[in-house]
């Protein structure tokens, strides 16, 4: 008997190593919007000014290393994190520190860098991560400024350099409305992805999980990486959805998350010795003359990215997708983690009896005098109107329809609103990030800001539990 038990254990261990999952997501919503990016890519003219925004890295308090007027190379440290001094943030281009913009209480808002006409890079060692130890990989990532690509769950913050996560997750699906198609942007980057994923395998005691669509071809096969297949509606591409299905986060555990685009940048760092902060992003939405893809450098000024491509009129520029992105002006800069820029019409106009008459140009998951359910494949040109005022929570059972996580969304939100830490923990706050509540926020008839509430809840947990 004892022998058998051992044998079973062995079988279990083996099967768990290679266990890849098929994930199907039915609860969710694919918002179909006009202005999908055409599959063609062009280069953006070099901006005069680039910026690093500490606010892109939630919870990081910057400690400046350079002063205004100093010249920096591409990849040279600009500031580090006060709480975790090993984590450094580097310039995307070579140039001169033009201005350190500060807000209230001297909080650093933006560091503007006037770009030279050409980049000279800080050189790091060129090594195959396969031959490096965990410590060497970590040191290279920290020294080069690639560390901020690694985000920690729970809490959705930049990973702590002292931790070893139980697993690392990379999503190979972008499922948000109009978001960049990884199959297109990652094509031909097999070498970089292999190096990047190999580097990640060194950082965890557990596994590196990559989840891709059923027909994905861009992902190379890499030793030590478990590949899962997933299909279904948004949020199938959100990493929390995948974590929940593959290996949910428990209290006290930490996992790391890296975006596929950034895995390629990390891979390139090891292949070339340079941290080249460029990526291909989608320009999408009805506000673009020609929605398509562009190659941009991190922190590029938006005016340069959209130059000659914006329609006239009252439009909103969003760095990111329409569910989770940041509102920007032309003078603003592309967000660090964003792979899409979306431009949609503003909705700052009144609508006569707009609260009860059918509105064929708007979309609703409800059938309350709205008939969008009759045309499930219609693409909409949605604007930024809230379509109603803020109210208390009334309807129930609607969030669950768009939330595939094994949590009770409304109960969790309410426990956050009353700051009941035990309850938040019991209801699964460790398993969520603000982006997971974007769809519930979209369908909320009470127009509550779910993502803000969740962010506040996570911040309370960081403060109280750590």
């Amino acid at each position: 008997m004892v022998k058998f038990a051992r044998f079973e254990k062995l079988v279990l261990t083996i099967s768990s190593i290679n266990m890849s999952k098929d994930i199907r997501i039915k609860k969710g919503l694919d918002l179909k919007l006009k202005g999908e990016a055409e599959k063609s890519v062009s280069d953006v003219a070099r901006s005069k000014v680039y910026a690093i925004k500490p606010s892109d890295f939630h919870g990081v308090t910057p400690k400046m290393v350079v002063k205004e007027g100093a010249s920096v190379k591409a990849g040279e440290v600009v500031f580090y994190s006060k709480n975790d001094e090993a984590v450094k943030f580097v310039s995307p281009v070579s140039g001169t520190i033009q201005e350190i913009k500060r807000g209230e209480k001297r909080v650093i808002l933006e560091i503007l860098i006037a770009a030279d006409s050409q980049d000279t890079f800080v050189e790091h060692s060129k090594k195959n991560p396969k031959d490096l130890s965990a410590q060497e990989v970590k040191e290279q990532l920290l020294a080069s400024g690639a560390w901020p690509f690694i985000v920690q769950r729970p809490y959705d913050v930049v990973a702590n350099s002292a931790d070893t996560p139980k697993a690392i997750f990379v999503s190979g699906i972008n499922s948000a409305p109009l978001e960049a198609d990884l199959e297109f942007t990652m094509a031909g980057k097999q070498e970089a992805l292999t190096a990047g994923l190999t580097a990640l395998t060194k950082l965890t005691s557990g596994k590196v999980h990559v989840t891709v669509g059923p027909n994905a071809t861009f992902l190379p096969s890499v030793d030590g990486v478990t590949v899962h297949k997933a299909q279904g509606v948004h949020p199938v591409g959100l990493v929390s959805t995948q974590i929940g299905k593959i290996d949910p986060i428990n209290k006290g555990e930490k996992v790391w998350v890296v975006q596929m685009e950034d895995v390629a940048i990390i891979g390139n760092l090891f292949l070339t010795g340079k941290l080249i902060q460029t990526k291909t992003i989608a320009l999408a939405g009805s506000g673009f003359e020609k929605p398509s893809y562009v190659n941009v450098t991190f922190g590029a000024q938006i005016a340069d990215v959209v130059a000659g491509n914006l329609k006239d009129g009252n439009y909103r520029i969003i760095s990111g997708d329409v569910l989770t992105g940041d509102q920007k002006s032309k003078e603003g800069f592309i967000g660090f983690y964003h792979n899409t820029m979306t431009v949609i019409p503003e909705g700052d106009d009144y609508d006569f009896f707009g609260w009860n008459l059918p509105r064929p140009n708007k979309f609703s998951v409800y059938r309350a005098n709205m008939f969008s359910f009759l045309t499930p494949n219609k693409k909409y040109d949605l604007n930024t109107n809230t379509n109603g005022e803020h109210r208390g929570f009334v309807l129930t059972g609607e969030y669950e329809k768009v939330c595939p996580l094994d949590i009770y969304p409304m109960q969790l939100l309410k426990s956050i609103l009353v700051k009941d830490i035990d309850q938040m923990e019991a209801l699964g706050i460790y398993e969520v990030a603000p982006e997971d509540f974007a769809l519930t926020e979209y369908v909320c008839v009470s127009k509550q800001d779910h993502q803000r509430i969740v962010r506040e809840g996570l911040d309370v947990m960081i403060k109280e539990v750590g």
Partner: protein, 398 residues
């Protein structure tokens, strides 16, 4: 300048003044506001709470109109004989209008008035919850209820039942039923018995022979008194029977329920499980009679012997299940919880209906009771999720 611009200017003018909330309530009734998203999702669903509430009201309009015709039909039918009167006549409608419109006006006037005052004092927007409550209230009233009683009850229901808890979305009990329960316990004579369900019975309208022409007795009343039921199943289903203004037509209520389910606003879980719960209780009672436990002569005999499916088409149970049990604020909020909550409402409705000696109807008490227990039901449903999470943690650490 256009109306839109004028109203916009007024809105700016009233910003920060005492007029702000009241003006905005009227303004947003005419125009969807020009507010845009900030900080969260950049697009939002086209449906807001107003649209939801509007849908619920739309589901009630047929019942209300039917109630007006039925008010006249019951009144004239009892005086002149039901064979002599038609249902859809102008005469019936006019009588219904003159009786029911004032009730509707008092219900909305008092209720919304209080909502506006609270909104102004507490400086929040006027919320839409009362739009539905104000419509529900007339539908669950006896036709001859004095208006001042209604006004007092509405004031009580809105202030104590809702605003003290924090307004729309925060109340524990269904406000419309709180209003009805208040009336029932204060002026029981006006809310039960055989005098109030048909217009004219209270005033003792005489027929040519000099006796009372109108009996306002409901079917359940007859059953509780172990009397014959003088209505066909068709009459009961279609609603050509005495009762609260909007509760009689099971047919139209069924259509309203289907409309609510198809629009995605009403909970099919609650409605279906409540019907099942009521049927189960009815079958148990039928079984007691069939197996000889309850004999003819027992005071419960007629009500228990009443076929379980007919229980569903008389009295207020259909109305309660479709329009009141499904109130999302006071109902259970989890999907599993809704099934338990609905089942128990149906189950207790029939039980109370049969055993309540004073008043042979139970749906009001059943819903209020389950309103109170809904958070407890949800608690245990959510605990299952919490336990699953804890178990995962234990497996990991073991």
């Amino acid at each position: 300048m256009s109306l839109k611009q004028n109203l916009h200017n007024l809105k700016e003018k009233y910003r920060g003044t005492k007029m702000e909330q009241s003006f905005n309530a009227l303004h947003t009734f005419l125009y969807l506001p020009n507010m845009t998203t900030h900080g969260g999702t950049h697009v939002k669903d086209a449906t807001d709470l107003k649209r939801v509430m509007n849908t619920v009201i739309m589901a009630m309009v047929p019942v209300l109109i039917f109630g007006m015709f039925n008010a006249g039909y019951q009144h004239f039918g009892q005086i002149n004989g039901f064979d002599a009167v038609e249902f859809f006549t102008i005469e019936n409608l006019i009588l219904g209008l003159t009786k029911i419109l004032p009730i509707l006006i008092v219900s909305y006037g008092v209720g919304l008035g209080i909502e506006f005052i609270f909104a102004t004092v507490k400086k929040h927007e006027v919320e839409e919850g009362y739009l539905v409550t104000g419509m529900l209230v007339p539908l669950i009233m006896p036709i001859d209820l004095p208006l001042w009683m209604l006004a007092v009850a509405v004031a009580f229901g809105v202030v104590i039942g809702k605003e003290l808890f924090g307004g729309t979305g925060m109340n524990i009990l269904n406000p419309a039923l709180t209003i009805r329960a208040f009336l029932f316990f204060n002026w029981a004579a006006w809310m039960s018995g055989d005098k109030v369900w048909v217009h004219g019975a209270v005033d003792g309208v005489k027929n040519t022979a000099g006796t009372d022409a109108i009996s306002g007795e409901t079917i359940l009343g007859s059953l509780a008194a172990n009397k014959e039921v003088g209505y066909s199943t068709y009459d009961m289903f279609m609603g050509f029977i005495p009762g609260s203004i909007g509760e009689t037509s099971t047919f139209l209520i069924l259509l309203g329920g289907l409309f609510l389910i198809l629009t995605g606003i009403g909970s099919a879980r609650i409605m279906l499980s409540a019907v099942i719960g009521a049927a189960v209780m009815g079958l148990i009672f039928n079984g007691l009679v069939d197996s000889g436990v309850i004999l003819e002569g027992s005071k419960f005999y007629s009500l228990m012997n009443f076929p379980f499916w007919q229980h569903l088409i008389v009295g207020g149970i259909a109305f309660g299940i479709v329009y009141m049990a499904t109130d999302p604020v006071s109902a259970a909020q989890t999907n599993t919880g809704k099934i338990i909550y609905g089942f128990l409402i149906g189950f207790f409705s029939i039980m109370i209906r049969v055993f309540n000696p004073a008043y042979p109807e139970g749906v009001m008490m059943a819903i209020l009771l389950l309103n109170v227990f809904a958070p407890t039901i949800d608690h245990y449903v959510v605990q299952a999720n919490v336990k699953r999470r804890m178990k995962r943690l234990k497996v990991k650490t073991a």
